[in-house]
Every structure is written in C-alpha cells, then in structure tokens.
C-alpha cells in the first residue's frame, strides 16, 4: 500500500537524522455541503483532503510537524521540523510513543448506506427543508440558513514501536435557522440533526422544531433583575458543559488551571449529578476504539452522584500522577499537538420530563439558549455571565418568552445546586467530542434584565 511505503520512508529518514521513536498520523476525507436559499441550490461545496503529521523523540523530547502536501517531497521538511521543535522543548513531562493496547473493542462508525444516497436525494431533502419551514407559518419571513452536509474520514496511526491502527467513519448533518417576524419583532429559531443514517432526517420535523422555537420567542421581553430558580434546557446545558469540559482535564489540573485540583473522591456536585464518558455509546458521534495516542478507550464515570472519580488523562499526565491513562488523548487533527478530550460525554438523565419539572416552580426562568459561550465565561474561576433567551415560569406554567437577559453564576457552585436532572438527554453538535445533557434545574442563579 502506497501510504505504508511513504511512512516507511519517513521513518527511515528520521532514523538517519537521529530520531528515536516516531509516529505518523495520517487523515484523509471528503465532504459535501449543500445550502438552499429561496428554492435555489445557492451553495454547493465539495472537498477531497488529506494531511499527515509526524512526531518523534529526539534527545528525550518530542517534536511535532505536519504537512498537507502528502508526498515524498515533504519528508525532509517533516523530519527537520520535528528535530528543530524537539530541541527547544524544556518541559520535564515525558511524552511517549505507545506500543499498543492488548485489546481494542471494535467500533463501527461507518455506514455504507450513507455513501450510497444519491446527490439528487440530498438536494431534494434540503430544498424540502426550506419549503416546509415556509409552509408552517406565514410569520416565517426568511430562512437564514438551510444546510445539508456529509463527510467521510479515515485515519491511520503508525509508529516505530509496531502500532498500526486504522479507522474510518462517515457522518451527515443538517440544520436550519428560520427568521420569524411579527410587526417590528424579529426572532430566530434553529434546529439540527446529526448522524450517519440519512433516512432518519425528516424535513418536516426539523423545520417544525426551528419554526416553533422562533414563534415561541415572539413578543419576548426582559425580566426584572434578581435571583431566580432556573431550569437550563437540555441543549443549553450541554453547551455549558462543553464550555467547561476543560476543567476535567488532568493537564489543566497539573498546570494549576483547574479548581478541581485536589478534589478527587470529594463531593464537587449535587447527588443528582453523574457525568459519564462512554466511547462505546450506541450511535455516539464521538465513539472510537482508540485515542490520539493509540490507547484503547475506556468507559468511565467522571463524577458519580456528585463525587469526582477521575480526571481525563493521556499517557503524559497519567505518568505524572502515577495512574493509568484513561484513554482520553486527543488529536484534533494532524495539525494539532496532543491534547486531552472526552468522547461521548454526558450528564446522566433523571426521571421526569421538562414540563413536569416546570410544574414545581412558582417563579423562575427556563433558559433555552445561552450566547457568548466563548467569551462570557472563565473556565479558570468558573464564573459565567451569559446572554440568554428563554421563558418566564409562573405558578408552575410557562407564562411568556424572555429576551435581553443575562444569567450569571459560578459553574462549580452551580454543580452543587442542581436540584433535578430531566429525562430529556440531548447532545449538541459533534466536534472532537460529543457532549450531552438533560435539562438541569438549578436552585438559584442571578438574572440581569431591567
């Protein structure tokens, strides 16, 4: 095979230049994106791409390099950059090239049926998605974004210690953002689906979800500032968890950047809160059998009924803490150096549905969307203050939509104040990880409005 011979040549060159252990990470993929605007296929994008990275140990330190020109002309650059980069590393932490786990559990993330869906069918689907949105309500003024996309990816990991792993996967996604207008009032609503079964995408359901969301928010006003009982709806709670995922990384803990330092086996959250990382979850979009260092992935409870059980580790952080790696080494792409991230990571669901949870609240806020998650929170301190949309709850019922408010608190305090988790576990859009949460009822958060 062509790639194997290129990898061998890279290793050979590396050895000549004095590198000891080496590893190649190769990924290739293709993608299709279709966007519709006013019944026309406005955007049609396709891609074929690949990239290769090399890491290698020189005088005990690990250097990294990559290229998108995957051929023999790049070998010299790859090896030279690894050497130059290794020389300047002065961290005492050791990075390893791994010989492989004893056993790997197979994960099937490739669905051949998706590759067989015709382009016509995909175009027909995305056009119908837009059409359904307009059909549902005459207050739908425009469809801002209406997209279908799919992609295929494969990776190869190969090292001089004999590890050779391959994986392939495919995924499809679709999302729509609708704009509803009544008088001067404008509201948007969004809905998405992800997965590798095209047949599960139902245009009407998706359009309806987005349209309902936008319409429900029409007429929203701010509320009086103060402390409120708050329910953070599933998708918003998942977004918030995603933003704070880094606090569970052993790397952050070891670098004094996480307040979870020294809290192992201590109570850090309410009894209702259990947090799971499951790389083998059925239809999990971050399911995988091995991590970014080639270590077999593991199921784990990170927080069990409020007690912190483990951090996320790779080989480097595990060695430093004298524990076993949890198989959470991540390689975002061939361009990234090694990091740490979860796989399918979610808050365990509770008993009751959202509408039942609402009935217990005399006066409170249901938050359906949090904005500015990349800027309005501090993962180091846990403080957050975020713009939000949602609904006012009065006497156990939703009384009206709410906008122009912020919700503020501290994530570490909030975890302790979770009174209930709903039965409505939902996952966000997949990135390197796939993060989910049910709706969370919080005793008290500060709301700023009028």
């Amino acid at each position: 095979m062509e790639m194997k011979s290129l990898i061998d040549k890279i290793f050979q060159k590396g050895r000549e230049k004095g590198l000891n252990d080496m590893e190649v990470y190769y990924s290739a993929g293709s993608s299709l994106t279709l966007k519709v605007f006013q019944k026309e296929l406005e955007t049609y994008n396709l891609s074929e791409s690949e990239g290769l990275s090399l890491r290698g140990v020189y005088k005990g330190k690990m250097g990294y390099s990559y290229t998108e020109k995957v051929d023999e002309t790049s070998i010299d650059q790859l090896v030279r950059d690894v050497l130059e980069n290794a020389v300047i590393i002065d961290s005492d932490d050791e990075e390893f090239i791994f010989e492989g786990s004893k056993e790997y559990i197979k994960v099937d993330s490739f669905n051949p049926a998706l590759s067989n869906v015709s382009e016509e069918k995909k175009i027909e689907f995305v056009k119908s998605l837009e059409e359904e949105a307009f059909k549902l309500d005459k207050r739908i003024e425009s469809v801002e974004v209406c997209v279908y996309g799919d992609g295929y990816g494969e990776i190869i990991m190969s090292n001089t210690k004999g590890l050779f792993l391959q994986d392939k996967s495919n995924i499809a996604y679709t999302y729509i953002v609708v704009v509803a207008k009544e008088g001067e009032d404008i509201k948007t609503g969004m809905a998405y689906r992800t997965g590798n079964d095209f047949n599960k995408f139902n245009a009407r359901d998706i359009a309806k979800e987005a349209v309902d969301e936008a319409l429900a928010l029409l007429g929203a006003k701010s509320v009086k500032s103060g402390d409120y009982n708050v329910i953070i709806r599933n998708s918003a709670a998942a977004d918030l968890l995603e933003a704070f995922t880094g606090i569970f990384s052993a790397e952050a803990v070891q670098k004094n950047l996480s307040l979870l330092k020294g809290k192992l086996n201590e109570k850090i959250a309410s009894d209702k809160f259990t947090l799971i990382d499951d790389p083998y979850m059925e239809s999990g979009l971050a399911s995988k059998s091995f991590d970014g260092e080639g270590v077999a992935c593991k199921y784990k409870k990170v927080v069990d009924k409020g007690v912190l059980k483990t951090y996320f580790h790779n080989l480097k952080t595990a060695k430093k803490d004298g524990v076993e790696t949890t198989g959470n080494a991540s390689k975002g792409s061939y361009k990234s150096s090694l990091g740490i991230s979860p796989s399918n990571f979610y808050v365990e669901k509770g008993e009751r549905r959202l509408n039942e949870m609402i009935t217990d609240i005399n006066k409170g806020i249901l938050i359906t969307e949090l904005q500015g998650l990349h800027s309005g929170l501090n993962t180091v301190s846990g403080d957050f203050s975020l713009a939000a949309l949602g609904f006012l709850i009065e006497n156990g019922k939703i009384s009206r939509p709410v906008e122009q408010i912020t919700v503020a608190g501290n994530y570490f305090e909030m975890l302790k104040n979770i009174e209930e988790t709903g039965s409505d576990l939902k996952f966000g859009l997949p990135g390197g990880s796939y993060i989910g949460s049910p709706s969370l009822k919080i005793k008290k958060l500060s709301i700023a409005g009028e």
């Binding site: 605007f37 026309e40 296929l41 406005e42 955007t43 049609y44 994008n45 396709l46 891609s47 074929e48 791409s49 690949e50 990275s53 990294y64 390099s65 998108e68 020109k69 995957v70 790049s74 650059q77 980069n85 290794a86 020389v87 300047i88 590393i89 002065d90 961290s91 932490d93 425009s142 801002e144 953002v177 704009v179 404008i186 948007t188 103060g226 670098k255 004094n256 950047l257 307040l259 361009k335 150096s337 500015g372 990349h374 800027s375 501090n378 180091v380 301190s381 403080d383 203050s385 975020l386 713009a387 906008e403 122009q404 912020t406 503020a408 500060s446 709301i447 700023a448 409005g449 009028e450």
Partner: protein, 462 residues
C-alpha cells in the same frame, strides 16, 4: 505557483457547464506555534498547509471545491466535478490571464522562517518572567508564540492573476492570579502583519505587566452589579462592541439576503451623529490588513458610518451581484478550505472630540469597562453580548472599585443610537474573528466611548 496554462485549463474546465465566472485560489502556508506554560516550552508545532480551491458562479449561486493536490489531472477533475453542479447554457468565454503586480502594503523586514527558534523562545521567556514576577498572587502564566507565512495565488476568468505573501506574528500572554481558592485570568495578545521585527520592537514589558495586572485586580474584585446603567468602554479592544453590535450586520453575507437589520438603510441615520465608523484593510502592517483580499482586489478604506449615517457595506464579488453594488476589497477566508466572503479587516469607531477624563468626570454612576473580552451577535435580530475582562464602578465622576464577571448585552441599532460621548484616544487591538468563511485575523478599535444605557449582567443586584 501554477503555470498559466494549467490555470487557464482549470478555469476552462470549471466553466464547461455554463458557469459565468470561475476562480482558482492556491495557498501555500507555513505555520509555527510554540506554547510555554510555567516558563517551560510545553509544545511546538510547525507545518505546511497546501491546497487549491476552485469557485464557480452562475448568477447568484456558487459552487466551491478544494483539494490538497495541484497536479493537472486532479485540478481538471476537481473543476469538472464542481462544474457538474452548474446547469445552464454554456457561455463562450475566452480566458486571457494577465499577471499583475500587487502593491505591497505590509513591508516585512525579517523573515520569521530565517530566525532560530531559540531566539523566539527567548522572547517568550522574557514575557513569562515579567508576567510571573509581577505579583506574588500570579500562579500561572502561559505564553503563545505564533508566526506564519501565507503565499497565495488567485486567478479568475475575468483575466485577473495575482500572487501575494502575507506574514503575521503574534504573542499571547495569559496570566492567572489565585487568592483564597479563587482564580482569575488576564490576557493580552498583540499581533501585526509583520515579520520577526514585530517581536524585536514589541513593548513586552507593558503587555506582560498588563496581563498580570488585570488578573491580580480581578481576583481581588467583587462581583459586578446588574441592571441597566451608563457604560463607559475604553479604547482598543473595546471596539469589539462595534464589531459585534454593528460590523457583522454590515457584511454583505447577511445584507445581501436582507437578513441584516441594516439591510436597505444606506443614507439613513442608524447611529448617534457623533459616530463615524471605518473598515480599513489598507493600514500598513496592521493585524487585519492585506494588500489584496482573497479575490485579488486591492484593500481599501471603507467608510461604513459617517456622523451616524449609514454609508456603505463590506461587499464581496458574489454578494455584489445580488446587491447590485460594487465590491469593496473585503472578501476573506481562513484558508483554501473556505470560499471567501465579505468580512471585516481593521474595523473601528473613529476619534471624537471628548477627552477620556471628560467622559469619566461627566458620568455620575455606571460601569467603566477598561478591558473587554470577546462577544458574539445574531445578525438577524441584532442581539449581541460581550464580556468585560476588567471593569470598575463609576460614582460621581470618579473610577471606584474593580468589579468582575460583567457581561454587556443589547441590540445593535439601540446601542449605536445610545453612544453619547466619543473620546479622542483611538487605539486598535487584535483579535480573531470567526464566521462563515472561517477564523481570520481582524483588528477592532475605538477611542473611549460612553453608552447612555446598556444592560449589564453581573451577579449582584443594583
């Protein structure tokens, strides 16, 4: 980067099914990144991005395809595959490429690829030492070094054929202060369209101390009050308010389809009469500057708002068709993986007439946002939010105690009309802006401004 014949053949293949415009973009970029945590180099990454993007227009619709390979077979095949998505009568277009020179506005003195990495590490070490030794409350400092050289070529069926090189350098300094089990951070990341000379001339002492000063000030601060109040936003990164509240809504990406609240409002008063706002990608060596945009158009100064009146948008080739307006040299993309579209470059509110001292002295009660974090906006509704990294209470015209954790929210139009004082101390600041065509370097900027009323989200009552 590619031969004339290969470009012409590729463009011809792209137009073989009735497209009325075709473009090819080649990118060859070397990246260098070094991360130092706790004074030690933790990780380094260098590499080469290489790819080709082919774009075809048919009326208002577009097709885009990219690949990492640039041999003739792959390019022709990619162009043909992309062309299959276009249906129409084949137009007989003769492609006559003329290579033209680019007026280079970002003169580079020292090629960063020629500088030893140990020298780059010394710069980082200096920043680390200054930041870490600033105060005993500082418990961690991270330094991020980045430089890149991006060579691009763009050619299109109208005969345009240009090549350009963009060099950028940036130093990120992040300090964490700890006190009584709490942590707060401060951050500064100056950058420029310059080579290694940027690091040699940088006032590292100032930026490193500022990052640590913010962290130390905030760890001692109490929580911000909440509610509606006057807000003074200081110069520099404070310009993120204009970027989010208005800038994105002036990009043709959302204007062309009528999705922006600013669509169809040229010539109308959309802001307070003391507000003039500019987007200027042609300022030499600024972080968001470029000699030509990613469609090959020379960058220019675009007046967006003049004395409160909407003057113009930022417009790319495709949206120019829908809008029936001229392009403005604003078409940008993160890489060959994204088709370009209208984006901001260096976007700022221009100087006004008040001094910063006057603005503060004239404010009885409110919030002073000295340093801003990032933010985001929904262009359809105009709703924006952004974080205050360093805030203070203002009472009786004086800056009082520091407050942390404040977020500012509002709607674009509303806030533009409520700017009631504009200072005379314009300053630009560097950031990364994420949108449809990826994450790109952009400056935000402004002098100190006062907004008569904004919703401040904090954790304490009024």
């Amino acid at each position: 980067m590619l031969s004339r014949k290969l470009i012409e053949n590729t463009l011809t293949a792209a137009l073989s099914t009735g497209g009325d415009f075709a473009e090819i973009f080649v990118e060859d970029r070397t990246n260098n990144g070094i991360v130092m945590i706790g004074g030690k180099v933790e990780s380094t990454m260098s590499g080469r991005d290489y790819g080709v993007g082919i774009r075809i227009f048919k009326g208002f619709n577009s097709v885009y395809a990219y690949t990492n390979k640039s041999d003739e077979d792959t390019l022709i095949e990619t162009a043909k595959k992309a062309a299959q998505a276009v249906e129409g009568n084949i137009i007989d277009l003769t492609i006559n490429l003329t290579k033209s020179d680019v007026k280079n506005i970002n003169i580079i003195q020292i090629d960063p690829s020629k500088v030893e990495k140990t020298k780059k590490v010394q710069v980082m070490k200096k920043a680390y030492d200054i930041a870490f030794n600033y105060d005993e409350l500082i418990t961690q400092v991270s330094i991020n070094y980045t430089d890149y050289i991006q060579n691009i070529m763009v050619a299109n069926s109208e005969g345009l054929w240009k090549e350009d090189t963009r060099v950028r350098s940036r130093l990120g300094i992040s300090s964490v202060a700890s006190k009584d089990g709490e942590m707060q951070s401060g951050f500064f990341a100056p950058g420029a369209s310059k080579g290694y000379e940027f690091f040699e001339n940088l006032d590292i002492d100032y930026y490193a101390k500022e990052a640590s000063r913010i962290a130390v000030t905030m760890v001692k601060a109490k929580y911000s009050p909440s509610g509606r109040m006057p807000v003074i936003i200081d110069n520099g990164f404070g310009g993120v308010i204009f970027h989010e509240a208005c800038g994105h809504g002036l990009e043709a990406t959302s204007v062309a389809k009528g999705l922006s609240v600013f669509a169809g409002k040229i010539g109308q008063q959309i802001a307070s009469p003391i507000v003039t706002a500019i987007d200027d990608g042609s300022i030499p060596n600024e972080w968001g500057s470029f000699s030509i945009d990613d469609e090959g158009t020379q960058s220019q100064r675009n007046v967006l708002i003049e004395n409160g009146i909407l003057k113009g948008y930022m417009i790319d080739k495709l949206n120019a068709r829908r809008m029936n307006m001229d392009i403005t040299g604003s078409s940008r993309r993160q890489s060959y993986r994204f088709p370009p579209t209208s984006r901001m470059s260096n976007t700022f509110i221009d100087n006004g007439s008040s001094t910063p001292e006057e603005i503060i002295a004239n404010t009885e009660k409110g919030l002073y946002a000295k340093h801003m974090g990032g933010g985001s906006v929904n262009p359809a509704t105009g709703e924006f939010n952004f974080a205050v990294m360093e805030g203070y209470i203002i009472e009786n015209g004086k800056i009082k105690e520091p407050v942390r954790g404040a977020t500012l929210i509002g709607k674009g139009m509303e806030v533009l009309n409520k700017i009631d004082m504009v200072g005379n101390n314009l300053l630009q600041s560097q950031g990364m802006c994420g949108s449809v065509s990826g994450s790109i370097p952009a400056n935000v900027g402004q002098p100190m401004i006062r907004v008569s009323e904004l919703t401040v989200g904090g954790r304490e009552g009024e």
